[in-house]
Amino acid sequence: MAFGRAGSGEISRREMLAGWIGTTALVAIPDLGRTVTPASTVRPASTAEPASTVTPATQTSGHFFLYGILTPQAESGGIQSAAAPASRPAGAPSGVSRAALSPVTLATELDAIPVASPGHAWLALATVATGVTEMTGVTEMTGVTGVTGATTGSAVTAGPAVTLAIVDTATATLARKVTVRLRGVPADASILVTPVFSPDASVVSLVLGISVPSGRREIRKPDPRTGGFQAVAAADWRSEHALAYFDRKTGALAGPFFLDDAPSLSRSTAVATATDLFLWTTPDPRATPRGKSHPVAPPMPSVSVFPLGEGKPRFTVRSPGPWPGGEPAGALANGDAARFVNARTLQVFAAKDGDVRQVTVAAVQEGRAKPSPVTMTPGPDETLFLAKPSIGRAVIVDPARDFAVRNDIGFAPPARPFGGLTSKAVLSPSGDLLYVLGGAKSGGLAVYDVATGKIAGAYGDGRQYSGLYLLPSGTLLAVSQENPRLAYFSPELSPLATADTSLYISGVY
């Protein structure tokens, strides 16, 4: 992981030519804070509809973070070509200066997609180093560059090293950093790192998928382009998992614990509750003798429940399919865990014994020809908020009431509901309002009254946005495919500002 210079978002042309373009980067941008004002009204979509009352968020000094790939535009204009608002309509909050919105390139070349803690106070970043000397132990970090602070431990060599950095989102500085040495693992292993926060963010579990190659060789395959043969590099990969736990408050590290589950597929799904880590894994089907004369059913995944800090599960049980692979998952208030599979079914796993219950949420059953992304995030009052933009539906279900649907809101699906950023519908902090990308015909944004399910306001500027986020200040951030890629809106859907970025954005935190 490389860190940007404190206070500077720029990367030199020399650095860019050295290969920065096309690499991943994480950029911190100060939130577009708002001054406290009396409750205001959401502009109705039509005069026939009543306005809804909202209370804007108070002034905040937090940050949000863009994750993506540096674009070729950086060559001429620097990494952040125009950070300040390009427009600010009359009536928009004042005090937004160019300097206040200057971004900082926090890190590049991350080896895992950043993960935000519940409540978004912390951000976990991970990198993997192979075959280098590293310091083990915990380092207190005080600056964005990460070059200051005290490190304890000793120097060791060989074996991949996984480094976890915890960023304080309020200040966009590194708060903690720890390195986990994987002794005995070959340097050419592929390490898949998945950080998982506990609900209060006090513990960060690291799920490590370790894939080790052997039998490297060159094979000859038919070449469909030429009709001849081509040489292809091949290897036999064998994967297993390890766990480590980092106590964010004390800096203590537990692990790594190797789970001895080889051969299994490195891709997994994990959820942390206040006391446990739920881990879904799948055996590698090549481990079971198979042949066309004696067909064998595909292996079932399993779920193991580990007490936080431990390498031995309390139990492991079979899980119904599908195999884990990126489905939305999260902890429930009662300590159970849930994952939303096949974009239509909620699977609830009991912390006591892994007993699984499958819940059908009728409102989001409809499928389309294309895969229909679904988000599952915490809702108000320990509920779950499910959004499926491809069919224009969002629901709030209540686990405490047998997963009954508390609210069901229909909206016009956006123009491109399938690709890019997954977040296209968000709840207001109070849970009273639902913000969504505007429909395919209108573009822009729309807001719905959750209680009534009726549209409460809309803003259309002809632009089709690909993602929608609620920033800590309560400001809405809409992301579009071309600059200005960032558009800020008030909770009343008034445009506040726009900004360019030379990142192809694949995540906002």
């Binding site: 490195s266 891709r267 020809a369 491109r416 399938f418 997954t422």
Partner: protein, 239 residues
């Protein structure tokens, strides 16, 4: 010769598609894990294959549609997704007796990059290299070929990624644009948006929502002279 792609199970989809288009597809392009927002073939491969047989289109090509944010990730992310994808393909193959690899030994495996997604070289190389080197059944066969589904003229990196120096080989592009619409028996003349980095061999000419199809299918056709079904699994009998 046109066929379908769908995120739904074939056995639940083909009847409505047949009622709408009044013809049998030449092939099905179907999602395998890790595709977290679709039904996946390996959950019940025998019934899925039986559905393909009953549909009159007993050819199945594998597609993988991960959460799109992952496509800009690291080589380890790409390798991990490919590992699961190949395992799902292999597991399906060994679960269904009549399911056969293509006669030409080349099974095209598609990575789904939607319009607004960003594909990094690291992810692509981790994914494509693993797919290309995957040994099927430990018998020395390596029938999987890395291919990309994308919108070639999208402003996001797709063709430029697979065409970059040091990028792993992409054997074919399946273009999602333009959505010209048409029917199974009367597809439009070939004018798919194309990449220069790899041959564009399949075109999704009919996208369900854009074209107003009621069945949960998109319509696809091979380039002139390219037989898409020949690069898919085929069924020698009904499972």
């Amino acid at each position: 010769m046109a066929g379908y792609d769908t995120a739904g199970e074939i056995q639940r989809t083909y009847i409505s598609a047949r009622a709408e288009f009044r013809a049998d597809p030449n092939f099905w392009l179907r999602y395998f894990t890790p595709s977290p927002y679709a039904d996946v073939v390996e959950s019940d491969p025998a019934r899925e294959c039986a559905g393909a047989w009953d549909s009159g289109g007993p050819r199945i090509g594998p597609v993988m549609a991960p959460d799109q944010s992952r496509l800009s990730g690291s080589p380890a992310e790409g390798l991990a997704d490919a590992e699961t994808f190949c395992a799902a393909i292999y597991s399906t193959y060994t679960s269904v007796g009549p399911l056969q690899t293509p006669a030409n030994g080349m099974l095209f495996c598609w990575l789904d990059e939607e319009y607004s997604a960003t594909l990094s070289v690291g992810y692509w190389n981790g994914w494509a290299d693993y797919v290309a080197g995957y040994e099927f059944g430990n018998v020395g066969e390596h029938p999987l070929y890395a291919c990309l589904y994308c919108a070639p003229y999208s402003p996001y990196p797709n063709c430029s990624t697979i065409g970059g120096s040091g990028a792993a080989t992409c054997h074919a592009v399946w273009s999602s644009e333009p959505a010209s619409c048409g029917t199974l028996t009367d597809p439009p003349l070939w004018h798919a948006d194309s990449c220069t980095a790899a041959p564009t061999l399949v075109w999704q000419f009919g996208e369900q929502d854009t074209c107003g199809y009621s069945a949960n299918v998109d319509l696809d056709v091979g380039a002139p002279g390219f037989n898409t079904a020949g690069y898919c699994f085929y069924l020698s009998s009904k499972p």
